[in-house]
């Protein structure tokens, strides 16, 4: 356990939230993209986080006493996966990507991005980022105070 662990932990939170904001920005930017290299409209991306734990999170008589649950090592991005929600259908027969045959004729499949959801997610990401910045500043104040030990 090093001295700057709390900084590193907060840094993982900061970078995770930054990536989350990038994903949200990508979603908003592609809110009306109807054509992608994979075919079909843009699918909303969502980011999945995972805690980083080097030490096991359990204690049992079978594992040595030294192995106890320590403070975690922060957060990391497990994957960025696609939202499987159905696409939004907009009636626009003159659109080049409008469906030509079948019962959905004349409809255009729009991405399953909800701007309101993205905006609230963005606010949440920003607040979480601020919380991590706050932790870094707090830790800095603590270490500065620790340097005053013995300076009497």
């Amino acid at each position: 356990m090093g001295m700057f662990d709390s900084f590193n932990i907060s840094a993982t939170g900061l970078s995770a939230q930054t990536l989350r904001r990038s994903v949200i920005a990508s979603n908003i930017a592609n809110a009306t993209t109807t054509r992608t290299p994979e075919g079909g409209p843009y699918q909303r991306k969502r980011i999945i986080f995972e805690p980083v734990n080097i030490r096991p999170n359990y204690k049992s008589p079978l594992v040595p006493g030294r192995i106890e649950s320590g403070p975690g090592e922060g957060v990391r991005v497990l994957k960025i996966e696609e939202d499987k929600a159905p696409f939004r259908l907009v009636y626009d027969p003159n659109h080049p990507d409008a469906i030509q045959i079948g019962p959905k004729k004349g409809y255009v499949e729009m991405p399953n991005v909800q701007i309101v959801t993205e905006m609230t997610d963005m606010i949440e990401a920003t607040r979480a980022y601020e919380a991590n910045v706050n932790m870094v500043n707090n830790a800095k104040a603590m270490f500065n105070k620790a340097l005053e030990i013995g300076r009497v």
Partner: protein, 144 residues
């Protein structure tokens, strides 16, 4: 017995408390970093309650009017003396609660308040430690 140690014990305990606050800071940082992680459960640090238990145990031992007779060195006394200096912090996982639908139980306001408390306590301990050093210095300087 606690006061008998003098400044040295106080300083030692303050150091242990600083260690505990340092661990607590890491745990709070980890909680905050994982505020949006599904199924993450927050942890917290117990130091004060451990210390209190050790002190209470020692006090109980001192006030115990009917200690079990220990006539052999292999006898185990009812209440054992605990070394207050050996008390360490313990990290507990709070897995019984759930704050949101995704199983996460990090309350960001609580964590922020805990971080502020952590900082204030750390500052208080260091001020107190410095005060002790100042007293020692003063005592050493008194040469008539």
């Amino acid at each position: 017995m606690f006061e008998a140690g003098g400044t040295n014990t106080t300083n030692f305990l303050l150091e242990r408390a600083l260690d505990a606050e340092s661990v607590r800071r890491k745990v709070i940082s980890n909680n905050v970093a994982n505020v949006d992680t599904p199924h993450f459960k927050r942890s917290e640090v117990n130091f004060e309650s451990e210390l209190k238990r050790a002190i209470d145990q020692n006090r109980e031992l001192a006030e115990n009017d009917y200690p079990g007779a220990v006539t052999d060195e292999k006898h185990i006394p009812f209440i054992q003396m605990r070394d207050v200096k050996g008390v360490g912090s313990r990290i507990n996982l709070d897995y019984s609660t759930s704050l949101r639908n995704d199983g996460n139980n990090v309350d960001i306001e609580k964590e922020m308040v805990d971080a502020a408390k952590n900082l204030m306590r750390y500052n208080a301990f260091i001020t107190s430690l410095n005060q002790n050093f100042k007293v020692l210095k003063m005592a050493m300087r008194t040469n008539g």
